[in-house]
Structure formats: structure tokens, C-alpha cells
Symmetry: C2
Subunit: 563 residues, 2 copies
């Protein structure tokens, strides 16, 4: 038997050894014609949005959401399970498509590698997907910064709108981890360099345009949504929108290609639509509606994911994305791991490799809470226990026993090591759940309440908090939103992913806490009100030893050190 | 007969009405195989650099440089003549390829439209070429800003290299006209936001990485050149290079696709390689060496262009690009217009539409001077008199007479209105010049002199200045360059394009002036020393009524207002 170091390949080695089909063949498998796809290299393509009209369908495919229990800082493999499940569904005879988020380029140069699944459940070509892919994020960066330039130009060229330079809320973005740009002063060096004011850069995935691109269904809606973006206030505190500047047409033109979903494949040649990737805190954290919709048109099963745990990602998937797109998820998969159960049972990070059944029993309450969240939306579920090499058989069996005691359907997955074969049990369980369920999805809260009602509903029904505290600033902003007629929108909670509370250290199934709402930021283009429960980092920094210093490219074009 | 308003279409209307061939067919015409090209949509592709080795050739194609007399602020149609000449050469039976610069995205939203030729001598698809194209400029932006983030992270994480924050010379870039970013203060808001210092953004075409990408021939050379970039100085004034930070591998990985030349076509289906677009003042202003080399491998005639007039663009083409790439241009086309001749004869801009033979006679000295510059490099030439609708027959004939009197070969072109047919006379003249010439190209100055020698050679032999004045700062910097061993590099003059002197208002064939060298900026990665004769704007601003406010995209994806 080989030792682990001999047989365990890195993600990039596995990906580079893959036998990819030409992207035209993947498209053909989906029933797409040549005129439906726009190739980007040999292994990537965009699917023309108009192709959906050319392929009408009487019954839509089944939609399966992959969500997770509260994560550990190391991550629980949710994307890997999503890819693995799509592969496994194909193995058991269902035409399944994965619908995933696009990874951000910037973080590749920081701490961690890409976000395209892992092991034998990856999407490929992974270097391309993690670098420029089809240019969607660059287009968003450009559209975002075009608006910023037009705003500052407006201030410089006479400020006909009477915009208060100190009340401009639109910043700039770059797809880069660059802490030095978080807070800056622009317009220095004299009159011809514009109006001096404080501003800053966020990372591109935090752009409201990213959220917009993921929630519209065509160019017309895109342009309307861009026009609704709030850019700031006049000196007498009246809101100013993009449409007041007349720049939404140019911004939409910049996004003309980005709106079409991207088609790639998994290591097992399962089709994958990878499109859009908004933050899961200050935005809704799901791939694009155009991609999900396209996948529903082309497949029998669509496996998609949402950011973080179900308290954040799934809640927003239900309340923002499904409501907006009139989607009806047929099942949810809740990813759990032995490591995360132990972590939420109180085990320190460095001890997570040791067998500890007591901690699992204790941490199980966290998973139970996530089950309750999914049930709030009336969506049937399966728990995917995602195996890690450090898990012992006793631990795996113990989790299975606990699930059975609670009446939770559970399947053990080993998709990292085995690809689709490691997800067949889960696939069968998902199919049976979908086919035998008569549950009908509904969002967790209704839109017609006040902003406070909606925030309280999420805090009570999802986080199970004892109450909500609003700072004076948040109260003032809620009143302002109501005055401006923005209170009909859903809320988008920006909260730590590590806890149901707003304290990242309160792990497990924390009880007896209140949530403090500190700030309300209207994302009027995206169509939600961001409710901040604490400081949210929207521009990451690089670590002391950034990955960038190890990445290399060789004469044959192969890349090392990226993952 | 139809009125002019009925028959004159805009560039974008002409381009949108074009019948494009699938890019695979264009590639096939060039003898390329399917594995040689990487498609980007239906009408754009990259040609794998390795294809050159798969298509070895005993004799290279003929290389024709299109340059121009000193321009008017409105431009003389140099790119249009380049495209038109390539089309015309095909019409007379030569397999010709155009090798052009990629336009910058940012300026599309400002004053003027794109830079892809005009009328019936355009490259298409022009919206794509002028917006994101194949993502090369976004890749350069990313690689540039990755380095900036790593530099600021180095300062923040302990500054092991002892880099002086006040002596960092590497700024950031965006492909956007954004004057508010010219001069900024970064790293505000407390310790975790990095080291506070003054910096700023340039437009992407001003990035040294753009110049590097255009002067290397493969990935290995690219990585070496990136490693040589000077990023700043230590507190004790020692230079620090990218290789000291170990980030050149990651930067090259970001540029892995950008290094391959882009293939598109003209309105008449003539192949065009459009790749790279460095500034013609602080950089050398030519398309990439990889594209020119690839075109020379694939065609019989390659028509390429350089920035501005011959005093800037052609001089750098000869002394930087041809020297670096061991290219031997076979002929130069000097574009002249009746308008420019009148402008340099002293006619005000608003009067340029009126017939004025005296002014032409007077302005002809400017053209004569450009002829002398091309002759300095021992390259045979043809003057292309590029017709505009306001030109009178008497004016055209008068210019032809003047050329004949001086012994200058001249051909009238009407490529804007007639496409290749309007350039047949020029094509025949170019072919005859190339076939009958026994001149051998050489650079204008030798590399082995001192920096001062090289600057003086350009000022004397090209600009015909009476002398050169060096500021104390420039003298100090020249001494520093010599101390650091950087004096073996060619010089890259940054001077106004409107005059042979460093005063934009001294038009015509100005005499009796001295050139003042104010600053020397080493572009060590690109391999030249930029010599600044005045303030050079490296980040444009938007005008009072930016084009961005008129651009729109419609439900069918068509764009209006872009040009």
C-alpha cells in the first residue's frame, strides 16, 4: 500500500490530469446548438441567454440547494459536495447540472486557493476559473469604476445635481486583496484633479453590481436595476440615483457579455454553470438567476449552492433569490462534517483531528438548528455527512445514529476522494426525497411588513434570538428608508457565519442572545436592504506570506503554487 | 443623388452591417490549424504563440510601417490607412496582414470613440475590440495592481527589504479616465489598513507591464522582464526590483493568456492581429512583438503602425522595437493630410475646411522633416495623402505636385470611404518601393553611448533641435542610472506629439529650439529609460459631457452611442 504522501495529489494536479471534453460536446449533451454557445477557449463557453427561448420546456427540472451547518474557519467542502452530488446524480441516471458561484480572483494571491470544488469533485479548467475565467468580474469592476469616475466628474464639472461630496456612498472596486485601498483620500494635487474627498475600494465581489448581475434575468432588467442604484445624497439629503446621472446604459453595455451564464464541466464531464459570486454577508451569496434558470431549462436536476451556513446563505437563497426569480427548491442538502460537529461541540481547532464522540453529541445541536431553518421554508432535506480523512469510523457511525434518532435522512459522502461514486448514496437519498415530498416551498418571511418586522422575523425564526436591538443610527436609517419608500424590499443580513448570533465566538447552538442592528445600507439596484450587525470586511488584506510569492508559470504555460 | 446625411453612415453602423467570416475561416486562410487558435466568441481568437514553431518559414514577410506627419488634435487617420493598406494589398494579390495596437477601454467613455480604424477600413467586431476584447488589458491591470498590493503588504508586514514608503515608484492602474485617482493618499484608517503614503493611479496603457508585454517574445522572457521592474528604493537609496519581492511568477501567471496575439478581421475579411497598446510618450507606442512576429510568419506583407508622428512613434519603432526584436522594416508609409499640412502652415483649427494652397506650401516643411526622420533609419518610404471630404481637388493636386518636386513617392488614399479599393494606388506604390529598394534598415542611434549621447542624438537627428538642456534633477537621475548600470538601455522620449520641439504650440517645421530634459524614469522591465520633456498626463479625465452618458444597449444586445 502506498503512503498518503505518495497517493494524495493536490487539487491542481488532479485538475491538470483531467480528460476534458471539448466544450462544444458538453453543450451538445445539453441539447444546445452551435449558435447557442459563445466559446471562450477550448473548455469554456458562455450560453447565449436567448438560448432559453429556443429550448422551451413544459416542466422545469428539480432544484436542489446545497447548504451547510455553521462552518469552521477551514470550510466544510460545500462546493465539493455540490459538484460531487451533480456527478453522482449523473451516475444514477439523472441529467444533472451544477450551478455554482464564480470564485474571486484576488484571494488566490492571499491565503487560500480557489473555490471550484476539490479533489475528484472539481470544476475545470480550474486555473482559468480561478483567474480571469470569461472576464465577468473584470466587466463588473469596469462598470463599477465607470460609475465612480462619472460621479467624481459630476462633482468636478459643476455638480448640477447638488450632490454632497461627503455623502457619496458609491466607492470603487478592484478584484484584489489590497488593504491599503480600504480608506483613501482622492482628488489631491489641485483643482484639475477633481474634488478632494474621502473614499475607498472594496473587493469586486462586494460590488452591488455583482448582486444585481445575479438577480436580473435580461438586459432590460439589468439596465433598470443599474438605474436604481443609490449613489449618494444632495446637500439637502435627497437621494441621487444612477438614473439621475444617465450612465446605466453605458454600464449595461460594459456588462453585455457578463450577463450570459458560463458553461464548463466537472472532472467527470458533468455540465456546470458557473456564474456570478456576490458576498454572502453584504449581499445574497448565490450564483446568478440567469444561470440557475438556464440550468433548469437544460437539465433534469440542478444542484446549486448558497454561501456560508443555512442561517445566511439558505435564508437569502429562499427570501431573496427564490422570491425574486419565483424558484421553487425541491430539496435542500445540509452539509455536515465530523470536524464541524466537534468544533461546535467546543473542541479547539488544533484538536479537531482527534476522535471525540462527546463533542459530536454536543455539537449536534448546531446541525439541528440548521434543519429547523430549512424546515421554516418548507423544503425537504437530506444531511450530507462529508467525510474527511481524519474522521474515524466510530465518529461517522455515531453521527448516523444521532441523525436516525432525530429522524433526519442522512448520507455519508466521500466525493473529494471518490468523485461521483462517493456521492451515490446521497444522490439516491436526494432523488427519493424529491420524488416523495409533497411540501411546497415558501419564503421565511413576507415582504409586506415593516423593515423592523422583517429583521425581527429573521432574528427570531432563523437565528432564534431572544430579541433585536437597533442602534440610533439604524433607527434613523430605517426611518429614512421608509420615508423614501424603500421599505418594501427584503432584508439582507450581514452577520458572522460562525455563529447564529452576531458574536463569531458564540459557536454551537447559542441561545439567549440578542442581535444588534448597527446600520442599514440600501442596495436599491440589487433590491434589498443590507442590515449590518457588526463590522463586515469588504476589502481583504494579504497575509505575511501571500500565495503570490509561491505561484509560478513555466515555459509550457503550466502553473504551480496556485492551490 | 443622395444628400450626404443620407449616405454617410457612422463607423459603428458600418461595422454592425459587416459580413464577418467565422474566425476559424480567417485562421484557415492563414494556414493555421484548429489547435493553433483559441476562440473568444465567434469573431475573435488568440493565436497560440507556439503556432509559430509549428509554421516555420524560410523567408519572412515584408514589414511595412505606417507612420505620419505631426498630427492635428483631430487625428489624421493613421490606423484607417493601416487597415486600408492591408485590405488593398490583398486586392492586388498579396497575402497581407494588419498588425495593430489594442485600443484602451477607458477613453471610450470620455470624448472620442474607439481606435479600430474608420469608415470602410475598420477592424471588427469593433464594439468588442473597443470594450473588453480578449481581456488583455484587464490582465495587465490585475498583474499591475497585484504588484502594488504586494508592495504595500510588504511595507505593512515588517518591511524586511527596508523599502522607503516615500520612494515607492510603482503606482496602481485602472483602464478608466478618472482624474480623481491621479493623486491620492492610501493606507488611512488605522494600522490594519497599511502604511499611509501618497500614491495614485495611471490609466492601464501607461503601465510598464503593457510595454513589457509588447516587447517580450515568450513566457520566459516575460517573467524575466517582470522581475527587472524597479519598484522603489530603500531608505539608503538602493534600488529594489520585483524579483526581490518574488512576485514575477504570479504576475506572469496572470498574463498567461494576454501574451498570445489576438486575431480578428477587417471589414473586407483581411486578417488583423491586434495586440498590446502602450503609450507613445512614456512608452514606445507599438503593438506587440509577438503579434508582429506571428504576422511575419503567416503573411507575405505585414502592415503595422506606430503612435503619433514619426518623431515619436517611428523613432521608437526603429530604436526600441526593431532593435529589440531584430526586425527589418522594408518600407514606411508616411500619412499626410491636406488638413494637417494647412494646420502646420498656420491655419486655425476652425478654418481647416477652407481651401488654402499657400498654407499647404508653408506646412509642407513639416512633412519634409518627417521624411528626413525615416531616411535616418535608411528605410524607403511612400507618402500616403489620406483624403478627407473637405479636401478640394486643387489642394490634392497641389500636394502631389509638391511631392513630385521633392522626389517623394506619393499615393492618394480614400480608404475611409472606399475601403481597400481606396488604397490600391498606395498598395502598388508600396510593393514597388519594397521590391526595388536595396536599402538596409539600421536604428537611428547606437546603444553604446552615454545616456546623454543617446538623448542628444534623438534631439539632434530626429527633432533637429539646436541643443539639449538637462535640469539638475535629470542630471542627478542620469548619474544614478549610470551608477546602477542602467545606461546601456535605449532612451524613450516623452514629448508632445504636436511639435518637433517640447512646446505643443510650436507647429510646422520649428527651428532654433532647445529641448529640456526634466526627468529620467527607468522602465527597467520594458528595457528603456523614459526621458520626460514636460508634464505627461498618464491618467486622463472625463469631459463635461462624457460619451458614457449617451452610450446605450438595447434588448437585442446592440450598442448605440459608442462611436
Amino acid at each position: 500500500m502506498k503512503s498518503e504522501t505518495e497517493i494524495v495529489k493536490s487539487d491542481i494536479e488532479i485538475a491538470q490530469a483531467a480528460r476534458l471534453l471539448p466544450i462544444g460536446e458538453i453543450a451538445e449533451k445539453l441539447g444546445l446548438r452551435e449558435e447557442d454557445i459563445i466559446p471562450y477557449g477550448r473548455n469554456k463557453a458562455k450560453i447565449d441567454l436567448a438560448a432559453r427561448n429556443r429550448h422551451p420546456k413544459t416542466a422545469e427540472a428539480k432544484l436542489v440547494l446545497v447548504t451547510a451547518m455553521s462552518p469552521t474557519p477551514a470550510g466544510e467542502g460545500k462546493s465539493t459536495v455540490t459538484v460531487g452530488l451533480a456527478q453522482a446524480l449523473n451516475k444514477v441516471g439523472k441529467r444533472a447540472i451544477a450551478a455554482l458561484r464564480e470564485p474571486s480572483l484576488g484571494p488566490n494571491f492571499g491565503l487560500k486557493g480557489g473555490a471550484a470544488g476539490g479533489g475528484y469533485s472539481q470544476v475545470v479548467p480550474m486555473e482559468d476559473i480561478n483567474l480571469h475565467f470569461t472576464g465577468d468580474f473584470h466587466a463588473i469592476t469596469t462598470a463599477h469604476n465607470l460609475l465612480a469616475a462619472v460621479i467624481d466628474n459630476h462633482l468636478y464639472q459643476g455638480n448640477a445635481l447638488n450632490l454632497d461630496p461627503a455623502r457619496v456612498v458609491w466607492r470603487r472596486v478592484l478584484d484584489m486583496n489590497d488593504r491599503a485601498l480600504r480608506q483613501i483620500v482622492i482628488g489631491l494635487g489641485g483643482r484639475t484633479n477633481g474634488v478632494t474627498r474621502e473614499s475607498g475600494f472594496d473587493i469586486t465581489v462586494a460590488s452591488e453590481i455583482m448582486a444585481i448581475l445575479c438577480l436580473v434575468e435580461d438586459l432590460k432588467e439589468l439596465k433598470e436595476a443599474l438605474g436604481k442604484i443609490l449613489i449618494g445624497y444632495t446637500y439637502d439629503k435627497q437621494p441621487i440615483y444612477v438614473r439621475d446621472l444617465h450612465v446605466e446604459g453605458a454600464m449595461a453595455a460594459v456588462l453585455k457579455d457578463a450577463i450570459h451564464p458560463n458553461l464548463v464541466q466537472t472532472l467527470e464531464n458533468t455540465p456546470a454553470l458557473i456564474h456570478g459570486g456576490p458576498f454572502a454577508n453584504i449581499a445574497h451569496g448565490c450564483n446568478s438567476l440567469t444561470a440557475t434558470r438556464m440550468a433548469l431549462t437544460l437539465g433534469e436536476y440542478v444542484v446549486t449552492e448558497a454561501g456560508f451556513g443555512s442561517d445566511l446563505g439558505a435564508e437569502k437563497f429562499f427570501d431573496i433569490k427564490c422570491r425574486k426569480g419565483d424558484l421553487h427548491p425541491n430539496a435542500a442538502v445540509i452539509v455536515a462534517t465530523v470536524r464541524a460537529l466537534k468544533y461546535h461541540g467546543g473542541v479547539a481547532r488544533r484538536e479537531l483531528g482527534k476522535e471525540n464522540l462527546d463533542a459530536i453529541a454536543h455539537g449536534f445541536a448546531n446541525l439541528e438548528h440548521h434543519v429547523r431553518i430549512v424546515e421554516r421554508a418548507n423544503v425537504p432535506f437530506v444531511i450530507a455527512l462529508n467525510r474527511f480523512t481524519s474522521d474515524t469510523e466510530a465518529e461517522i457511525e455515531f453521527v448516523q445514529t444521532l441523525c436516525k434518532e432525530h429522524g433526519f435522512p442522512v448520507a455519508v459522502t466521500n466525493v473529494w476522494a471518490e468523485g461521483g461514486n462517493g456521492g451515490v448514496e446521497l444522490a439516491r437519498s436526494v432523488i427519493s426525497t424529491v420524488e416523495n415530498s409533497n411540501q411546497t416551498f415558501h419564503p421565511i418571511y413576507e415582504l409586506d411588513g415593516s423593515i423592523q418586522d422583517k429583521i425581527e422575523a429573521v432574528c427570531r425564526d432563523v437565528y432564534e434570538a431572544d430579541g433585536v436591538v437597533f442602534t440610533d443610527e439604524a433607527k434613523r436609517q430605517m426611518a429614512e428608508c421608509e420615508r423614501n419608500g424603500w421599505d418594501e424590499l427584503p432584508v439582507c443580513m450581514a452577520k458572522t457565519q460562525y455563529s447564529f448570533s452576531d458574536n463569531a465566538k458564540a459557536i454551537g447552538d447559542v441561545k439567549g442572545f440578542t442581535i444588534t442592528i448597527r446600520e442599514i445600507r440600501p442596495s436599491l439596484g440589487a433590491g434589498f436592504l443590507v442590515c449590518l450587525t457588526g463590522d463586515i470586511m469588504t476589502m481583504p488584506g494579504l497575509p505575511k506570506e501571500p500565495t503570490a510569492l509561491k505561484i509560478d508559470i513555466h515555459e509550457d504555460g503550466s502553473i504551480t503554487g496556485l492551490f
